[in-house]
């Protein structure tokens, strides 16, 4: 633990100035976080910062869709929604009756699941249509649905609606939200500087005794979220299918939001088990960034989060690794979108020693002065847009290059041109100036990322979920140390034909009678 009078301790201007001309210069800033681990294993990161009278506050659980299995895909995300439904104290008029109604609901739901399975087996034989019509349901099935609706109504009557939100909102807090990724789940809010104790109260309470109210209607909300994000957008479902194609064995192959069949069937018991396994304090990091006194915050953390009991077992490790790819895979899609090509290679996870070179390679290729723009957009004019990037996930990683065909050109032309640029990187070294340019941009970007307390919070938590918050200070020198030869070497190692998957989008012809442009159809 270190105490810093100023959160962001800088090395000084001379280092910053030199970073732009001397490649080996030390990097610019250090973020001095005060780190504590409570007895129950919960981690606490404190970064006091003068400025506006607010505190960005949040916590991360090291659990995401990668921790799911077939049958419960989407549970990590659905669970995130459930964490806003209150506790034994927050959100109800009468907790005992509330729990009784919830038990009744679960009982009806379980019986309903059996009816659904009976219907499903008839559908498997082709004896009932998909989707089923009301008249395809058994009498008991329909009765149960009515019972369920009546119980949901009774539950509503026992609720103090959205009390968790109301307390924060009324306190002047803003930006209350949460997010789920394949690797972690993050919960955050910005509270007025005088109300950090409220944050400790509410967050420790929902980790201590959450109650998953309105479980079944929230499942419907998540189905609508899936329709909005994936099913009703021109390329959402194709991208999802491309992910499933790219990952043969890894759990990154299913979508974070889950497959529809699973979202519709996940039970409250499964959610509770998930909570017990992954939301134990030793699997959580909390963090405050902003205008507060760290000594007081530590005191409050011990008082509130100290109430949580360490989980009896450590969360299980993610076991399934991606198998090595043996042959190129490809998809050719007809979609309501511009003709385009995406090429994706298996690479390395977040933090791997090859990652800095792959990230810089992506930056050498991208942007207005990047190689792809110069070669494909301004030069051969095969594309109207092009970019590339490395994405390191916790357990695996990939590199993607993509481009939009110029009208009159085909996605195949873009694919060829992208591969041509990637091939050049295997044989020729990038120039020192190109490399220095992207390093300069990273160095300036390291400052820009510190401007908002809220974004700093997200970075610290995201990093702590994967490796450690300390990587915010230890990663920049690793990027600074990359040499042109490293870029060539990683290009050669990873940009191999048998290691890639390709998706080509052709523009889908408009339906008969509907207006559509003639010119932009791809050949």
């Amino acid at each position: 633990m270190g105490t810093a009078p100023w959160p962001l301790r800088r090395w000084g201007v001379f280092t910053i100035a030199c970073a732009l001309s001397v490649p080996s210069a030390l990097l610019a800033q250090r973020v001095e976080v005060e780190e504590h681990v409570l007895e129950n294993g919960l981690r606490l990161l404190l970064l006091p910062r003068k400025g506006d009278p607010n505190v960005a506050a949040g916590w991360v659980a090291r659990v995401g869709s990668v921790n799911e299995r077939p049958g419960i895909t989407g549970l990590a995300h659905l669970f995130e929604h459930m964490m806003f439904k209150g506790t034994r104290v927050i959100g109800t008029r009468d907790i005992e009756r509330n729990l009784e109604v919830m038990a009744d609901l679960d009982r009806v739901k379980a019986e309903l699941a059996r009816e659904e399975e009976a219907l499903r087996s008839r559908q498997r034989l082709g004896e009932a249509p998909e989707p089923a019509r009301p008249e395809d349901l058994s009498v008991r099935h329909r009765e149960l649905l009515e019972e369920l609706a009546a119980l949901a109504k009774r539950e509503q009557d026992l609720l103090v609606k959205n009390e968790f939100d109301r307390i924060y909102t009324s306190a002047g807090a803003s930006g209350l939200n949460a997010g789920t990724t394949s690797d972690y789940t993050i919960y955050f809010v910005s509270v007025p500087a005088n109300k950090i104790e409220l944050w400790f109260w509410l967050e420790s309470d929902r980790l201590l005794n959450p109650v998953f109210r309105e479980f079944y209607s929230e499942r419907d909300v998540v189905r609508e979220e899936r329709r909005m994000r994936i099913e009703s957008t021109p390329t959402g479902r194709f991208q999802e299918e491309f992910d499933a194609l790219f990952w043969a064995s890894s759990p990154y192959g299913w979508p974070v939001i889950g497959w529809p069949s699973d979202i519709e069937a996940i039970t409250r018991d499964e959610a509770l088990e998930f909570f017990g396994t992954y939301y134990a304090p030793q699997n959580i990091t909390t963090c405050l960034v902003g205008d507060f006194d760290p000594a007081r915050a530590l005191e409050l953390a011990r008082k509130y989060f100290g109430r949580l009991r360490r989980g009896p077992r450590e969360p299980p490790l993610v076991r399934t690794r991606e198998v090595r790819q043996l042959a190129e895979r490809r998809m050719t899609a007809q979609a309501e979108t511009k003709p385009q090509a995406r090429i994706r290679f298996h690479t390395v996870p977040d933090g791997h020693s090859d990652e800095p070179a792959l990230v810089l390679l992506g930056e050498v290729l991208s942007g207005r002065t990047g190689r792809l723009y110069k070669a494909l957009v301004l030069g051969s004019q095969v594309a109207n847009d092009a970019a590339a990037y490395q994405r390191g996930l916790k357990h695996e990683g990939y590199f993607e290059a993509e481009g939009v065909a110029k009208p009159g050109k085909a996605p195949e032309d873009v694919e060829r041109a992208l591969l041509g640029e990637l091939d050049k990187l295997k044989s020729e070294l990038v120039s020192e100036r190109e490399l220095q340019k992207v390093k300069n941009q990273r160095a300036a970007g390291d400052f820009r990322r510190l401007r908002s307390s809220f974004h700093l919070l997200l970075q610290l938590l995201g990093r702590d979920a994967s490796r450690s918050w300390k990587t915010i200070n230890t990663d920049p020198p690793r990027f600074e140390a990359v040499r042109a030869e490293d870029l060539r070497r990683v290009a050669e190692s990873y940009f191999r034909p048998e290691n890639r998957s390709v998706i080509l989008y052709h523009t889908q012809p408009p339906p008969a009678g509907a207006p559509g442009p003639k010119e932009t159809k791809s050949p």
Binding site: G12, F14, G51, N194, V221, R296, T369, P515
Partner: protein, 523 residues
Amino acid sequence: MKPRPAPAAVAIALAAGIAASSVAIALAAASSAAEDPAGRDAVVPHPRDLVFPELRFEPPDRAKHRHELPSGPVVYVVEDHELPLVDVTVHVRGGSYLEPSGKAGLAALTGSQIRSGGTARWSPEDFDEELAFLAATMSSSIGDTEGSASFNCLSKDLPRVLDLFSDMLWSPRFDPQRLELKLSQDLQDLARRNDQTSAIEAREWERLLRGSGFFTTDRVTKATLGTISREDLAGFHRRLFHPRNFVIAVAGDVDARGILDALEGSLKDWAREDWPGGPIPPVPKPAAVPAPGLHVVDKAGDAGGKAAVNQGRVSIGHRAATRDHPDFHALTVMNHILGGGGFTSRITSRVRSDEGLAYSAGSRLELGVHFDGTFRAFFQSKSETVGRAARIVLEEIERMRKESVSGEELETAVNHVIGSFPRLFATPQLVTSAFASDELTGRDAAFWRTYREKVRKVTAGDVLRVAREHLKPEALVVLVVGDAAAIEKGGLRDAVEGKVPGAGKVRRIPLPDPLTLEYPGGD
């Protein structure tokens, strides 16, 4: 190289930065913590029992940061030396309403090409390279009523980047090749503008509310882009970009005197030049009166029989007052309760939490600056339940006008608006951008000073009165985009008939030809 202040001096400078917004916070008394040792006994049973120290906050004073340059512009400067970064934005009056007839798209094109097309001294490629190597970001754009150009750079590079920026502002080259590329990209975008239901919804909503010819509606076609020449861009640029039309915002690691001198130095010769077409004429108001009723856009499936989108997007609302209306504060509170306050608001609570009918549901009330604003309630729901959700939204609009809101609802909304007020000034960039915007649009400096007091005085009676005056059932426009047949089968018309004038008859809006914007069957 300019010497940088040592850390101690940074601390002093930072404190001076905060003086922009005088903050006084009495952190929780140390004594109470000392006599109240950490332990679960000390946790109050409900957060309503927590006691918070007082938080005093005064918004920054506009007059203290305002400077007038002899060359014409008003400049706002907020110094902040925490990070070695500087932001400069030049705002200009004027926008697409000044496009000559038949040249829709000229404003946006000019806005993009100021930055992309090089300068008299610099080719576009060299200009991009120079900025990229300095790791500076620079951009320009022109919208409907305002334009802007801005940059962010490391403070050590400020003189160099300011020089490049002035060059770009004063003498953009409008390079023909870059213009051709942009036109190719724009045409490709036009061709795809019927792909996304969200884009269709935004376009048709604006047309319904403002009338199809008004300058805020989408009027860009292949033909209008075809008439635009490089000379048009140069002329439009000269008309908007003149020092006498500038409001400049500067935030970050600068010395106020130094940057004012530097700006004056680069603008004074320009200010003596002629300003063709200046000063800028006022923004016109829409002539058309929106027709209430039920409007449906059918997003049909493809020729191969692939299903249409499975979720309908819905907007319900009408035109609203301007922001100088005396009911401004009461209206803010009213909409917070109706649909603007997230989960604590009525529409979100009923459509999402109670019924699970949507992921996103709520309402926005945007009071106009130059002409009428808009009130819009919105949601996205699966086709079958669009009608049910629409019924709920209409009920809630009606209930706002019939009954007084509860004391708790009023308190939540008022407390939130007041409590989150300091967030509006959370960074120096937010402060200068609020000042510049107020200057540009002529908002009184007293607005922020009296804001919280006026919100605090809003009563339940005020909320009921403004709901009755400003929510207008007789003017409701309902727009639905999605699979029309499935949505209508779900009972949409029954849901709105009798509540929305003329809703007995569904008006179908066909998809226009994306390149000509011609609507089949006339418009």
